[in-house]
Symmetry: C2
């Protein structure tokens, strides 16, 4: 049995680069960017009008102000958004300008309509505190052509999609996702559509795993194999050829029909570890072949769930080179946990005065999937300690 | 101009129930549940073995312990997971049992293999501290048939998917999503695939909106209309018939070509408000017809972005009856903001010692979409106040 820290280290040593693919930018949310996004032009690309109003020459304005002359400017024309730049021909005049338009040539300052009265083609400014360049968003202010707007390895969200559109990246390079098969074992399991007999239950772990992978934008396939060693062996042999990752649920503990560790061994899979000093999820088995990683999770619903979050997620993040900040939360109640194991305890998170509070959810052990409905994270309580006090801070792993 | 609070109240008064649809449970992640999920049988459905080992009669064990007799039990048989319940015929004996199996009849306690030595068909227990019922997950302990396992109006995540599978809900009732059209205006806009002329820029707001709706599992359509009043009017007239919600970006401010408010009026749309005391996003226009809600956001990228989060999101949550907790964070730096407006400031969140810290991201105003790449939330700083101190706590809206 190894520690959670060592297990995680071994998992993170077995990460793998799955390469890069180009996809339409509008389908890229949640994917990991695999190129630098640079500005194809200045940002904004021209001196951009930032308010609807009139554009004037500031020097003319301030000279009239100093000499107490009238602040009225004849309107020479209109500069609409999307029109070519026009020129203020006479600096005694002004041009009506619209938000998003190019600032007219020879003008440098925009007065918004709210501060102007327009009558008979003449705009009279009714304020006297004006700054040169006001309401002008200058060419290149947010970025220069060639500037890196999005660094490589960022996770793409709505904000990045906007930038991709702006620079014309209709296709974008992202990390390819691993090809994953999720396999359940256990002869007590029947399909979701079936009516189980007294001693049977329906399959559920493969579907929670499918959903947990979907959170990472990974699509996956599922299969069920009966607890029959030759059948397990021949099917897994094929899956090892066809997939980058196999996730198993069940058949890794001490039971008479827990054939997986033997089968892996006979198929030449390198075992990296079996059993981790944690609860739930202790009998976790992890290994690899040259082209495939095998995460074999214990079959109890919460064991499978927490191990996917605690090991597969960080393995995926490192494989695609995504940095993820470790979150922490404040324990809301005293917790006693005697065994010398890391304890992954389901908690409900709430946010009070900028504090993240973790309230333990009472569950009935690793079989109690229904209790996860009321939780939204696991808090990770360390080993070598059995009393955890309200107010202490520990790492959390969110799943909602 | 109305306050942010009043604007939000008016938006929340205009929510709408879009009905219910049945979808495959495995496609239901992120959707809002519209039925109670009840246990179709006890949870677990039988006295379930929770450890691989042997099952015995506890009273026989304790009577031997008291009288100092040998703790050896002849193995009568094996109870595998997925097999019908067998019976311990002689309480002097034991049955090997596997995790997930039914506890054999006449047995009540499971000793794990780690605490047993098996030789020649006899299991000898090598510990003397055993509790009655240990390692047995009792029928109905996590829930009774008919118990509500998931309440209506919960957002479905991986945990709920597992429960849906367990109770055989292969199809599940969820809130129907509104049918949404996203419309951009502005003659300065060209397509993402095009090379803009000097005075043009590429469309980006519609794509950020598409992505922000995807976060709510809402798919949407997009269209662009030129700044031509008759064309705007005829197209919007059709959209009002065909969609539940129209989201607009641009053409709601004071510009000469900001035709939307007039067009809405001429089409008989009821205006609920125009202009909110906030920055960015002040010229926001909101209205409705009998069957359609219109969110007309100002065209600056950050204005569109923040208004979608601050108004459309809560409107959606209330429409589908989802309760969402208001998050707060601690300001990491002093901020000065003079105008008497609510200030939505982009921030980077980090988690230190269970505290959620919001560090302001320097942006160049509402046009600076690129600055959102470095942020992951907006912090909402109230009006009637201009100095916001490091350490103060304010509401946040996350978008990553």
């Amino acid at each position: 049995m190894i520690s959670v820290e060592n297990a995680l280290q071994l998992v993170l040593k077995a990460t793998q680069d799955f390469g890069v693919e180009k996809i339409p930018f509008i389908k890229s949310v949640g994917r990991i960017l695999k190129e630098e996004i640079v500005a194809d032009r200045d940002f904004p690309p021209f001196n951009r009008v930032a308010m609807d109003g009139i554009a004037i020459d500031y020097y003319e304005f301030s000279s009239r102000l100093r000499s107490n002359r009238q602040l009225s400017f004849k309107i020479e024309g209109i500069q609409a958004a999307g029109s070519e730049q026009i020129t203020l021909k006479n600096n005694q005049n002004c041009i009506e300008v619209m938000t998003g338009a190019v600032l007219p040539n020879n003008a440098n300052t925009v007065i918004r309509y709210e501060d102007v009265i327009i009558e008979n083609g003449v705009a009279t400014i009714n304020i006297d505190k004006i700054n040169e360049d006001q309401n002008v968003h200058h060419k290149g202010k947010d970025g220069k052509v060639g500037d890196v707007l999005i660094a490589e390895n960022m996770k793409i969200s709505a904000a990045e999609v906007g930038v991709l559109a702006t620079v014309g990246k209709s296709f974008v390079k992202v990390a390819k996702q691993p090809k994953i098969m999720i396999i359940s074992t256990g002869d007590e399991l029947v399909g979701v559509d079936e009516i189980p007999l007294e001693h049977q239950i329906r399959r559920s772990n493969v579907f929670t795993l499918v959903s947990l992978l979907e959170r990472l934008n990974i699509s996956s396939e599922t299969a069920h194999i009966t607890d029959d060693k030759p059948i397990l062996k021949s099917k897994i042999k094929n899956y090892l050829q066809d997939y980058d990752v196999l996730l198993f649920s069940g058949a890794v503990s001490k039971g008479k029909f827990d054939f997986l560790p033997e089968v892996f061994d006979e198929l030449g899979v390198e075992k990296l570890f079996h059993k981790v000093a944690q609860r739930p999820g202790k009998p976790f088995w992890f290994g690899q072949t040259e082209n495939c990683k095998l995460f074999a999770f214990p079959g109890n619903p919460i064991s499978t769930f927490v191990n996917c979050l605690a090991y597969f997620y960080p393995w995926y993040y490192k494989s695609v080179n995504l940095k993820v900040e470790q979150e922490t939360a404040i324990l809301a109640e005293n917790v006693t946990f005697k065994p010398d194991l890391v304890y992954f305890l389901q908690v409900k998170l709430s946010c009070k005065n900028g504090n993240l509070i973790a309230t333990p959810i009472q569950g009935n052990g690793s079989g109690d999937l229904a209790s996860l409905v009321h939780a939204d994270a696991f808090i990770q309580l360390p080993s070598h300690k059995s009393e955890f006090k309200s107010g202490e801070v520990y790492p959390i792993i969110r799943f909602k």
